[in-house]
């Protein structure tokens, strides 16, 4: 089962990729863990970047579903975003 993770601009710069595919995730918590692993030695940087970052699954914030326990399915897109952008 593969989930596509779309990173924020800052995360992309740190990791050198706009998106990564992670396999074997059942929940958003798993996706976060697997994405953090992709950062390797820069995992602390990933933690910092996610501190004020919201997470959406297929466009819907996990806050409106089951939070980190939100289940993901094959082909889903999990996206990080800055919650406040202006307007």
């Amino acid at each position: 089962m593969s989930v596509t993770v779309e990173l924020t601009y800052d995360m992309s710069k740190a990791l050198g990729a706009r998106r990564v595919d992670v396999d074997g995730a059942r929940t958003v918590r798993d996706v976060l863990r697997l994405t953090r692993e992709r950062f390797g030695e820069r995992a602390a940087e990933f933690e910092k970047l996610t501190r004020v970052t919201a997470v959406a699954v297929n466009g819907v914030l996990i806050n409106h579903r089951r939070g980190l326990r939100t289940e993901v399915a094959d082909g889903d897109t999990v996206m990080f975003l800055k919650a406040a952008a202006g307007g």
Binding site: S12, N58, L61, L68, A84
Partner: protein, 627 residues
């Protein structure tokens, strides 16, 4: 005269080439503030129903408000009001730049331009001498907005049109410095009058009731804005294009003529990308604005120019599936120089591409392909060939070529770049706003989908209340006349800096989402000024202004505009959204589109309208809307 106003209305007749300075009506100023409110009152009173928007009977009204001419942050704006040639409804647009300051220094609160000139003309207003010169503008006719302002003198304050206005493109705008009163075709009305430019000069200063208190408070507000996570950090650093990084993951970024809300490469159009690629500086932006949301970018063959904003990168970018910032920046410059609204332009081009794809039009342009678009934009501005059809806007194009179900407009005004299927309150706002499908007549999306509060944008809670409250506030803001961004400071910085996934944040969001009754009480309070615009008005005019006062004034303006539209023949049927938005789902959990039919009845009730969307006599009487 109430403090904060110059006390004069300048009435210009372009046909007779006469002018008259008249006293500002104090009662109207108290009831409608200025800006678009005062303009709407004048338009309603001056014109009968059914006038030709591009005929001599349509007055073009430029209006400032009591905050213009002060050093309040984001206060250098003016409003333009007329009957819209694009929608046939009330037309208005607001603009930054410098012309508001020119008007106020000239000692003019409102400028009314009536009738039409036989030949290209420009006006020079000398406020100190109370003189208006009608000057031949044949040498400027055909020139772009940038060149025109350079020729008129960079140090003066101008409002000008470009070729799009001259050729009465129905979404042409009026430009001041590098900013544009873009929406509803106010530039086409100026072009119909053969009025190329207006220059206002003078040396008057603003009189305030309590200047010392105003200055001290304004210093505090300026410092607070500079520290604010959105106003002082994100908008300052990334400009409005930084919003792409939020709308794209939330699936509300128009893509492929609003077919989708997400583009996998959208970050290449973001403010963050702009900062890393091609940004050559940060504009000083509008006068007295600490936010400085304008960007400078390099355009080949032109040099350093104003960069594209969010609406532009979305509607000329992902909406056309052209994810090339350099290309979008070039088109943005072209549209600004030709003098037309990039929101309508991008939506028109997206519609033409889908017509082409479905074999309904041979436009020669395709999604994902930039070929031919630069030339087509120029053709639109000059109404050449197919450009003449595209100059009419999406609604008229759909009447000619078909495609009503994917014609992205409300009341004839092309939709802004927030897909309401992921932002329900914004959908109600689009459907009901008097000028049509626009995002800055309330900006509900800030509270529900792009701001710091992560309320659920796809349930029905507050989704009828928020648009009404915010539309009222925006009516007041656009009548002072302030930038809508001043409202973003309402949410304290500390909330922006909490994790959206934290318990505290979720609790706060839940409280807000369920605050309907409390919200309705809070906005009625007339005890004390709380927010900056209330305090500024109080210090300037000497008349205590509170949230309750502004909600009342805003509701008055909104209902007057509504009555104007009803008089023009619009009905509740026009309070709708494009069929694509109503019936096509863009989220996996959706079975249909935006639930407007569930929200409109409540919205009408909150407004004090009957089931046909008509303000009741009691509502009009309560708000003192004279009809």
């Amino acid at each position: 005269m109430i403090r904060g106003y110059a006390g004069r209305v300048l009435d210009v007749d372009l046909e007779a080439r006469t002018f008259q300075f008249k006293p500002l009506d104090e009662d109207t100023a108290r009831l409608y503030l200025g800006g678009k409110g005062y303009g709407a009152r004048l338009l309603y009173d001056m014109t009968p129903a059914g006038i030709d928007p591009l005929g001599p009977s349509n007055p073009l009204i430029f209006a400032t408000g009591p905050l213009n001419g002060s050093v309040a942050p984001q206060s250098n704006r003016f409003a333009v009001v007329c009957k819209s040639p694009l929608t046939g409804a009330i037309g208005n647009a607001a603009c930054g730049g410098s012309f508001a300051l020119g008007m106020k220094r000239a000692g003019i609160d409102v400028l009314v331009v009536r009738n039409q000139s036989a030949a290209p003309v420009r006006l020079e207003i000398d406020g100190d001498r109370s003189e208006v010169s009608f000057l031949d503008a044949s040498d400027l006719w055909g020139k772009g907005t940038y060149a025109t302002q350079v020729l008129l003198g960079r140090k003066k304050h101008h409002a000008v049109i470009g070729p799009a206005g001259e050729h009465m493109v129905l979404y042409a705008g009026i430009v001041s410095s590098e900013r544009i009163a873009g929406r509803t075709g106010v530039g086409a009305v100026m072009g119909s009058k053969r009025l190329k430019a207006i220059t206002a000069t003078g040396s008057r200063t603003l009189e305030m009731d309590d200047e010392q208190a105003f200055k001290e408070y304004t210093r505090w507000v300026g410092a607070m804005f500079r520290r604010h996570p959105v106003l002082g950090e994100r908008l300052k650093r990334y400009g409005t294009a930084g919003i792409v990084s939020t709308t794209n993951p939330r699936n509300i970024l128009p893509t492929r003529n609003f077919k989708h809300g997400h583009h996998p490469d959208a970050l290449n159009l973001s403010g963050e990308y702009m900062e890393d690629h091609g940004l050559t500086g940060v504009k000083s932006s509008c006068i007295h604005c600490p936010v400085t949301c304008g960007r400078d970018v390099e355009v080949d063959g032109v040099g350093r120019v104003k960069g594209p904003e969010y609406e532009t990168v979305a509607l000329l970018g992902t909406n056309l599936e052209i994810v090339n910032l350099k290309q979008v920046a070039e088109w943005n410059y072209l549209a600004d120089d030709l003098g037309m609204d990039t929101i309508s332009l991008g939506t028109v081009l997206g519609f033409a591409m889908e017509l082409q794809e479905r074999g309904l039009l041979q436009a020669g342009i395709r999604f994902g392909d930039a070929t031919g678009i630069s030339e087509l934009i120029k053709d639109i501005a000059h109404r050449r060939g197919l450009g003449a059809d595209l100059a009419e806007g999406v609604k008229r194009m759909s009447e000619k070529y078909g495609g009503h179900e994917f014609a992205m407009h409300v009341k004839g005004l092309e939709l802004s770049a927030y897909d309401p299927r992921g932002s329900y309150a914004q959908g109600v706002e689009y459907a009901t706003t008097n000028r049509g499908g626009c995002h800055v007549q309330g900006a509900s999306m800030y509270l529900e989908s792009v701001g710091p509060l992560t309320i659920n944008p796809q349930n029905l809670k507050l989704k009828a209340d928020l648009p009404m409250v915010l539309q009222n506030l925006a009516c007041a803001i656009n009548s002072m006349v302030l930038c809508i961004f001043t409202t973003y400071g309402m949410i304290p910085g500390v909330i922006h800096n909490t994790s959206p996934n934290s318990r505290a944040h979720r609790l706060l969001t839940a409280l807000f989402e369920n605050s309907g009754p409390l919200l309705r009480v809070a906005i009625r309070q007339k005890v004390t000024p709380i927010f900056w615009w209330e305090k500024w008005l109080t210090y300037i005019t000497g008349e205590t202004t509170t949230a309750g006062h502004l909600q009342e004034i805003g509701a008055r303006i909104f209902n007057l505009e509504r009555m104007y539209n009803l008089r023009e023949g619009l009905t509740a049927d026009n309070d709708t959204l494009p069929p694509r938005i109503l019936y096509e789902p863009t989220f996996a959990h959706m079975t249909s589109g935006h639930p407007l039919h569930q929200l409109l009845p409540r919205y009408y009730k909150l407004r004090g309208w009957d089931t046909r969307g008509v303000p009741t006599a009691r509502t009009l009487e309560r708000l003192r809307v004279r009809i």
